[in-house]
Structure formats: C-alpha cells, structure tokens
C-alpha cells in the first residue's frame, strides 16, 4: 500500500515549528523531567548510597519476589496467548468474537478492582475464605495472590500481539505442511513458530515489563510485609512513606532501567518491521 505520509513529511516551518515546540514542551514537563528526577535523586549523594539501597536484604528479597512472580506469570500468559491465537486464527467456531472481546477484558479493569476480585474470592471473609483457612492455605496476602493478580493484569498482552499477526498470515503454509505429511507438532514447530517468533518475543517483553512493574493490583493482595510479600514497586512505596527518599528513588531507578530496556527492545522490534503494523497498535 502507498505511504502518503512519507511523501508529505515536511520540515516544520512557521505554524509547524510552533506546534512542534508545544509538543516537545508538553512531553518535557510531563514525562522527561520526572524521569530525570528519578535518576537524579537516586544518585544525588553518589553511587554508594544507591548500592547500599540496592543491596539491602529487603530490596534483595523484593527483587527475588518480583522475578519469581514474572517467571510464573509470563510463561503462563505466553502459553495462553499461543493456544488462544491458534484456536482463534486457525479455526472458525461460534462465539469467536465474544472470546476475543473477553480476552481484552482485564485491560479495562482497574488494577485495584483486579486485586479486589482475588480478595473477594480468597480473603479471610471471601467466598472461599472459610475453606482455605480450614485447610491452612494462604493465597491472598501471600505469594500466590501476588502471582494471580499479576497474571490478571498482564493477561491479554501475548494473545493481543499474536491474534492479529497470525490472522494476517493466514492458514496456507500450515495447510501445505499438513498436506505434505507433517504432523501437528512438526507443523507448529517448523512452520508457525518461525513466522510468529518476533510477535511472541514482543508480547513477552511487554508482558514481563508490566508484570515486574505492576503496583495497584499487587498492592491490594499483598500484605505489605517487608522482606516477605513485597515486590519492587511496593518496596518503593514503603521506602518513600518511611521518608527514605534516596533509597526509594534508588529502587525506583532500578525499575526505570528495566522499563527503559523493555521499551528499547520493543522499539527495535517495531523499527525492524519484524512484526506487522497492526499488532503494533496494542499497548
């Protein structure tokens, strides 16, 4: 398809220059200055306080819990994304459009409401609270609750990348492979997977970044116990409320670096055109 935008991209003059300056100013005061402030505060007293904050046992245990949560939530959501995309793009069945809408549902739910859902189910006065305490199982205010809430808020990421990508690619290659005698597994492994590899990586990167950075949902289901049920974003809050500014901004800058890396990888995949333009529109 023709790309009129390329032809028309012009050097801004007059009004255009004014618009450009306004846009830059807006992004500067809203996004860039706060970002610089995080890094500036973290290293305000040099490298040593930063390292002390990062090496503190409570921070290390928050890092561990954050990584553990992502290590469970991301593969599960990636597996879900793959199976959902396979079913939706390779077959016709009733209720397909409803299914696609339902997969997007977690994006529209407030993170706090997402956390609330699991407290209502598994909390001490929740629907299953009596059963769980009778069997001495702790879900909410413990690691399982944090994992569940994280899965919920990152639920659609991989599926959302893969469905439009696989839809655009169609079924022909898979059908050819089957006709030539490949079995289902070989078809998936040798034909489908190489085609959607970058879509999976893209989805997993976005999903991981969000899983490690989620605050609201995890805050509701965590007990805020230092060194136990604290993820990195929650640890930032605790330190900040304790007036440990440098420590709070040090942990925050660690999270900032993680999200910057994720953003750069995402942009590289987009720029190389490794995934289709449609899939790119997703969060």
């Amino acid at each position: 398809m023709s790309q009129p935008s390329l032809v028309r991209s012009e050097k801004p003059t007059g009004t255009g220059l004014l618009l450009l300056l306004l846009a830059v100013l807006f992004l500067l005061v809203l996004v860039v200055v706060p970002l610089v402030a995080v890094l500036g505060m973290a290293f305000a007293k040099g490298l040593d306080p930063f390292l002390v904050a990062i090496r503190h046992p409570d921070t290390l245990s928050a890092i561990k819990l954050t990584l553990l949560t992502a290590a469970i939530a991301v593969p599960l959501n990636a597996l879900f994304g793959l199976t959902a995309a396979w079913a939706i793009t390779k077959f016709n069945f009733r209720g397909k459009s409803i299914l696609i809408s339902l997969i997007d549902l977690p994006f529209t739910v407030s993170p706090v409401v997402a956390g609330l859902l699991f407290v209502l189910l598994f909390g001490s006065r929740g629907a299953l609270g009596g059963f769980l305490s009778a069997h001495d199982i702790q879900i909410v205010y413990a690691t399982p609750g944090i994992v569940l809430a994280t899965i919920f808020v990152t639920f659609p990421f991989v599926a959302r990348e893969l469905i439009p990508l696989m839809q655009a690619q169609g079924n022909e290659e898979e059908l050819a492979a089957i006709t030539l005698g490949a079995n289902g597994f070989q078809t998936f492994w040798r034909v489908t997977l190489p085609n959607i590899k970058w879509g999976i990586i893209y989805g997993v990167v976005v999903c991981t970044a969000r899983a490690m950075g989620e605050f609201g949902a995890v805050s509701v289901v965590s007990g805020h116990v230092r060194g136990k049920t604290n993820t990195l974003p929650l640890h930032v809050e605790i330190l900040y409320n304790d007036y440990q500014q440098i420590e709070a901004f040090s942990v925050a800058s660690l999270l900032t670096v993680i999200s910057l890396v994720a953003l750069i990888v995402k942009k590289l995949i987009e720029r190389k055109g490794l995934i289709s333009a449609r899939a790119r529109g997703a969060l």
Partner: protein
C-alpha cells in the same frame, strides 16, 4: 457454498460420531482445535471470568436500597465524583495536546523525532509507583517545577490539580497512539483539493482533517478516560488522599478492604467495572468507525 461443500456437510451430518466439534466449527485439517480452544476457555474462566462473576455476585447480594445508600454516602459520592471529574479533565487535556503530539510526529521531519516518539511510550512502560513518586517530587512545593507553579498561586502536589497531572501522565500515550496512524493515512489529495478550491490552512484543518480524525480522537479520549478512572499507583503519592477532598475511588476501595468492608468495596468496584465496560464498548464502536473511514484497509 459450493456443491462439494454441501455434499461434505451432508456426509458429516450422517456420520458424525463427534457431534460437538462438527456443530461448533467448520471442518479443518489443521490439528489441535479442541485442546487449544478448551485450554483458552478454561484459563480465561479460571483467572478472569469467575473472579469477575464473584465480584458481581458479592455486589448484588445487597438490595438496591443498600447499594444506593452505599454509593450516595458522602465520602463515596465525593470519591466517585472526584475520580470521574479528574479523569475527564485529564482526558480532555490529553485529547487536545495528545492530538497535537500525534500530528507533529506524523507530519513533520525533524532531528530527534524517533526519540520523541519513544518518549510517548514511557508512561506505558514506567511502573505507576515510580511515576507517582517522580511526579510528586517534581511538582511538590519545593520541586523543580512545583516551586514555580506554587509561587504563581497554583500548588500542584497534594491538590486536585496534582491528581489531574498524574492522570494526564498515565493517559497520554492512548490518545497519541490512536490518532497518529490516522493522521498518517490521510490522503494528501484531499488537502490539495481543499487548497486548490481556495481553503486556507485553518479551514482545511477544521473542515477536512478534523472530521476525518474525529472517531480516532473520540476513541483516544475514551481510552485515556478509562485508564484514568482506574488509576491508583501514580495518584496515591501526589494526591494527599484526604477523604472528601483528594481521595479517589480506587483508594476508597483499598481503605474499605482494610476495614474488612467487603460489600462496600465490591459495590464501588462493580460500579467502576460497569463504567469501564461501557467505555470499552464506546471505543469498539468508534474504532469500527475509524476502520470504515480508512477505507476498510487496516493493514
């Protein structure tokens, strides 16, 4: 339907030993339909649908009178009013300036354009607690930007203005990313035609371009509004969280949960859920309209 397909379908009806999949789908030689669809529905139900159903059941265990009393209680009403009001204000700011950013990114060539483009995505990427403490620091009374604003008589942190700033931050990318591709797709010939018929640049923009961008701008507004209504992390730090004044609805849910008022939390949660679902529906209708205007060629 071709004759062959009709024959095949009849044959299937006669010999169907597995009636359920045959009714539910067209025949395909590709494997894995039942396992993948089964896992999809199972995972979706266990992690999303059943928890949401539990919220609705919990909220509807109260009578209408009780629900109305809960929502119209002064503190709840104030929180809901503030949440929707501040989100509306932030979405409005984003609609105006986000459209401007989208326009600049799509139309002009300048050094650092891809950097500016990447900066737009930062609010998506940054954890909300990080955004919260950063914005609070920058916009507090002795912060880099807050001190100047406070001297001008507009303190930002710990006021409602601060809430709007945080909500503008989290909602900004939605407007830019919805409007930008539509600006890119506008046919140059339309503008040339308008110009050759004697329209000024402003007239071309308001009468030709703006109507084309309308649905996308609407969708961007709704998305940024929906995101703002549910936002918690970034607001928590900058708001001050005074009941009746700077307490947003998600924060009230948290404080009700801390007092073990599950029913009250569920009612506010269900109200917010209903509003986000209505917004999502609006967005889908608008997006369909965007695709139609872009000539049904979304690729």
């Amino acid at each position: 339907m071709s004759e062959l397909a009709i024959v095949r379908e009849r044959a299937q009806k006669k010999s169907s030993l597995l009636p359920i999949p045959r009714i539910l789908r067209e025949r395909s030689v590709l494997p894995g339909f039942l396992p993948t669809l089964g896992f999809t529905w199972l995972y979706l139900s266990a992690l999303v649908l059943i928890p949401i159903a539990a919220l609705i059941v919990r909220a509807s265990s109260l009578s209408w009178a009780q629900i109305v009393a809960l929502i119209s209680a002064p503190r709840t009403a104030a929180a809901l009013y503030l949440s929707f009001g501040a989100s509306f204000a932030a979405a409005l700011v984003n609609t105006l300036i986000g459209t401007l950013v989208a326009w600049v990114l799509a139309r002009y060539k300048f050094p650092g354009r891809s950097l500016l483009d990447a900066i737009v995505d930062l609010p998506f990427a940054l954890p909300t607690s990080v955004a919260g403490i950063a914005l609070t620091y920058v916009y507090s009374e002795n912060g880099w930007l807050g001190s100047g604003l406070a001297q001008l008589g507009m303190p930002v942190a710990f006021t409602r203005v601060g809430i709007v700033v945080a909500l503008t931050f989290v909602g900004m990318p939605f407007v830019v990313r919805t409007v930008q591709p539509v600006v890119q797709e506008i046919d140059a010939q339309l503008e040339e035609a308008a110009a050759s018929l004697g329209a000024t640049k402003l007239q071309t923009f308001t009468r030709v371009i703006l109507p084309l961008l309308g649905p996308a701008i609407g969708a961007g507004f709704a998305l940024s509004f929906a995101r703002a209504v549910g936002e918690y992390g970034s607001v928590l730090f900058i708001a001050g969280n005074m009941p009746m004044q700077t307490e947003i609805a998600p924060l009230l849910i948290v404080s009700k949960l801390e007092q073990f008022d599950y029913a009250g939390a569920a009612v506010i949660g269900a109200t917010m859920l209903a509003v986000s679902l209505a917004l999502l529906l609006t967005v889908q209708l608008l997006e369909r309209s965007v695709e139609r205007r872009m000539g049904g060629d979304p690729s």
